[in-house]
Symmetry: C4
Subunit: 262 residues, 4 copies
């Protein structure tokens, strides 16, 4: 097989870019440490493998965000965190390769000003759900109220044609994806995975873990019969009350991730 | 999404409460150590994650019970065990936050005087079974005779309306749940999980582990054809003979949990 | 629930028995070490949990066999191995409790003089297959030729009535089970598990591991469409050629079991 | 059961062979180390168990290839690597037993001169897909574009009759299998497993891991409804862009394999 050039999609998935924007006040050290921990937790919990990424909005400049350089999440350290503009331009990559799909983060941060953190992943039960025609991920247990009454499925063919590599490799595709987040906190991407947003790193990580579980349970339940999903009221109550507790799993997951890294 | 106030359900899932009842004679140290071990085993066996809890009836005051403060079960120590009344009031929390859902334990201990220990969890195969219309968990192998001829499914909408957060957050909901335990030792909770009772900590832990396995096997078998379940006589014989052996898995699970904590 | 007394089945699943037969020449130390390793491998490979057992025919007295005392397989040491007659009587238990289900081993060793080792287990994919009406475990890949053209399913109700605890708790039930091994090396037990035999400890362990995999694959394949099983000729060729290699997985499994016990 | 002699298939699956070809210039040390690491990664990622193997074309003699002697992949060291001709003859086995199925590698290297590395395995989701009549493994997510529009299923009965042991035990069967690789990079083998090829060791390992995931996801998705697969253009773009990144998972998998071997 050889590479072809469909729809201007001829690119590697990691790229070296010039730093084209000026530096900002440095983000808080605490936020960077939390972002590093989030990378390790997402790997340890099986949400990401060598691929997938998490970003956080800059705490001093809301028009900037932080994301690791191009690498496996399990190996990220504080030195690997790079700052980006909302156009997806690196500020301080210093020649290091960055994720091609940084446009996922850039365009969602631009469109959803309430969002503070974003996880993009290909977790095991999300991918099969994303390719079944007419299927919607839908909240079916109390830990996943944020899934709501049916997550949109982003079909890249509508914005990018039928010969892309399915990656969100430019601002055009990023904007097309971001539109799906109006009124939704998770969007599936057909044949690819999902992206989930939160008001904090901890909340985005929580949601990425439990979105996978909701998908897994839904796959099993749908094979057996008609499913009772959460009502809209139940979804909202679950988000309000249960997600106030996201620090509880976070502390446990962090301890587990550290133990397994030793 | 924002929190709403449906049916008086506006609450966090961990709460700081005043100690409103007088102290009792202290429970046996052995019982507290066993309760701590049970927390670790349930986590290590995958029955609970950062959520879920196990309680034991006070060995000197049957109108009191013991339960960890609000925290992940894997991290519980003897110092984290709190005493409660059968109204769900903390005796010696000393300002520490407690589980919102302590009413599950309080009301079952009140109604079922034969019960000595209770596990509430959201294990992986129970949740999907709980949302399929018309589905009943039913004993299908010899280790799970206690499941009997069909576990009730608690639908919180009947007692709490259609916009709750699915949690058993007060005595009213606790009593509605507890009624389902007449003649049953396990009850599923729609879109939430299950609660299982036993005559000892070891038996309740045994049942929580094997209820999950029965659900997993039932999910698989039902996809292939008609299932032969245990008869009522078989269920009873299995409980009588096999559950006399609950110390055998307990010792092994405890060794495993300790090894993985080191 | 309380114990009932159906069909003379009122018994605990571990029993203290008198040593009623005379001692034999001691079995080879090597055989005992291999039996201990087999217990650890079966646990480490997920074939047994706290329940299930493996036996070997005595190398100096074919009318005797060796089996651990009543305990979890993961914890067995050489000191825990007990000798039994083909009536299931302990020779040197010395007051230690023994497995109730030793009659599985006794009666199969009696009936199948070619058998040198037996594994009884409740592995995860075997149990669901055992309860689906009309279902037969059947060889579907080259590692499991020994499964043949359809494993019998032992229905204990035919020999023991419809209120047993499903356990093979006496010689009568043991003989009824053993009859199913004429022409078969694996027999499923409805609502309980399976028993598999081999010409050596290594072969019996190999077969217990791959029977579980065959069941798992068969469960998945049958949900998708019509399955091409091995022919009788393919099954025989696979047994002849592939099972000559049982030492290869044995060495690896043993290394894994030891590493995880450290 | 006893061995029979169908179609000249009477053989053990490991064989001692004479070294019949002359030595070559030694392959690079780096290539051998990478081949050893690949064995460990494939085991650690669950693609192979005690069975399965990976080969690489000799970097100085394209008519030779390197493959471990007959052993479990997890235990391979540099000293265990043997050189073979494209007729499957060992060059420097020195009396050590070799894999019976070396003809898989020999005949594919002969036919596909662009191939540099080959993985043969029986991974868990591939086997069930291989036995369902009319079923084709097909690319359904961006990481597995190399699967393309439907992998061939090799039916050994066509070349070897209906009583083989399903193994590729001679050049005749190897050639019959190799023909299926014209225009395909992965071929399923009915009731056996799969073989996948790549332009480098890293690429072949990557593909073996993600072929298993594609199969797993496909098994799940097909149970729920009609599936949207990748188009031919999408498959090609994914191969071109994503497989340029095979070093990213490789580094992570190698770190994991090493950590778990310690």
């Amino acid at each position: 097989m050889c590479a072809t050039d469909h729809g201007g999609q001829h690119h590697p998935i990691a790229v070296a870019v010039d730093d084209t924007a000026g530096p900002s006040a440095p983000p808080s050290r605490e936020m960077i440490e939390e972002l590093v921990s989030a990378n390790h937790i997402l790997f340890d919990q099986g949400v990401v493998d060598a691929f997938g990424h998490i970003s956080v909005r800059h705490d001093k400049r809301p028009d900037r965000f932080l994301l690791a350089r191009n690498m496996a999440p399990s190996q990220v350290t504080a030195e690997d965190i790079v700052e980006f503009t909302l156009d997806g331009e690196a500020v301080n990559a210093g020649g290091r390769k960055v994720y091609l799909e940084r446009f996922i983060h850039a365009e969602i941060f631009r469109r959803r000003t309430d969002v503070a953190a974003i996880v993009h992943s290909h977790s095991h039960s999300i991918v099969p759900l994303s390719v079944v025609k007419g299927m919607r991920l839908r909240a079916m247990f109390h830990m996943a109220g944020f899934v709501g009454q049916g997550a949109p499925v982003f079909e890249i063919r509508e914005a990018g044609g039928d010969a892309t590599d399915l990656l969100i490799s430019n601002g055009h595709l990023g904007r097309a994806l971001a539109e799906n987040f109006d009124g939704h906190d998770i969007v599936l991407m057909r044949g690819h995975g999902s992206t989930v947003v939160g008001g904090s790193i901890k909340q985005a990580v929580y949601r990425a873990v439990y979105a996978e579980l909701n998908a897994r349970y839904q796959l099993q339940a749908m094979q057996l019969g008609e499913v009772t999903y959460l009502t809209e009221g139940e979804s909202r109550s679950c988000v309000a009350h249960i997600e106030a507790q996201v620090h509880r799993p976070w502390e446990m997951w962090l301890e587990q991730a550290r133990a397994r890294r030793r």
